[in-house]
Symmetry: C2
Subunit: 156 residues, 2 copies
């Protein structure tokens, strides 16, 4: 091994946190959506995950989805349009606030959310096996702490 290796090689061997996150994010996203599609679920982009991931069974307001996912209301709006089109959610008036609408998952939407959660869990189990249960659990605890710290720093 050369003492003064090329920068690109170093970045491959000892990637920084940003590079690691992007590798993992894109790989996980792609695997999730390819699996869903292969299983016959209607094709949706990763962007729709931003809505589905934060959706409550009893429904969630579009503004909350925007805040949770960090996207603009406008984007959430079109995302919801497409999810309605795909039969995953429906818009219901919010009894608490007549300005607002609750985005409520349909049965098909719930099914998709459950399946998506299960696939993510399977991906994690694969890594847990590869790394060892103990080490993986510790990794995930640390990751959760760091990511939550990063996120709260964002919001400030």
């Amino acid at each position: 091994m050369p003492e003064k290796q090329k920068r690109s090689a170093r970045k491959q061997a000892e990637p920084d946190l940003g590079i690691l996150s992007s590798w993992l994010l894109f790989a996980v996203q792609r695997e999730l959506f390819e699996t869903m599609e292969r299983e016959g679920f209607e094709k949706l982009g990763p962007r729709h995950g931003a809505v589905l991931a934060y959706l409550d069974e009893e429904g969630t307001r579009a503004t909350d989805l925007a805040a949770l996912s960090g996207q603009h209301k406008q984007v959430i709006g079109t995302l919801i349009d497409e999810l309605v089109e795909a039969g995953c959610v429906e818009r219901r008036p919010d009894p608490q606030d007549r300005r607002a609408k609750l985005i409520v998952p349909t049965e098909a939407g719930l099914e998709r959310m459950r399946r998506s959660d299960a696939i993510m869990a399977a991906i994690e189990r694969r890594y847990a096996k590869e790394l060892g249960e103990e080490d993986y659990a510790q990794f995930k605890r640390a990751f959760t702490r760091i990511a939550q710290a990063a996120r709260s720093r964002e919001r400030a």
Copy 2:
């Protein structure tokens, strides 16, 4: 704490790998680019990072940058145009291959790359302090293994 908590709350408390990755990626990216801009570097988007991150001191070919960053040649082309505009890189003919051009960082570009690496390192040190050096080192080893596994799975 309710036994049957809402899904969105659960996702906040026990996020999956995809959510964690996106939180960390976006936070880190934003901090990096905001810091760079605050220090007077010309404003560039996160996308340019895909080029700068993998750039070698001696220069790298556009096609290699496309492969490393996983983006299309076309995208890399415009990114390079903008980086040339910003004075960070220049196109030089590749003596080995007259079809190709080497993308070589200018002195200003090198300065930016060094600074960017330093900021990332500082961000990591902050998390290391927060988590404890020992735990952080173990976290990063695990993260590196998992992300590299995910990435190689991608390429297959």
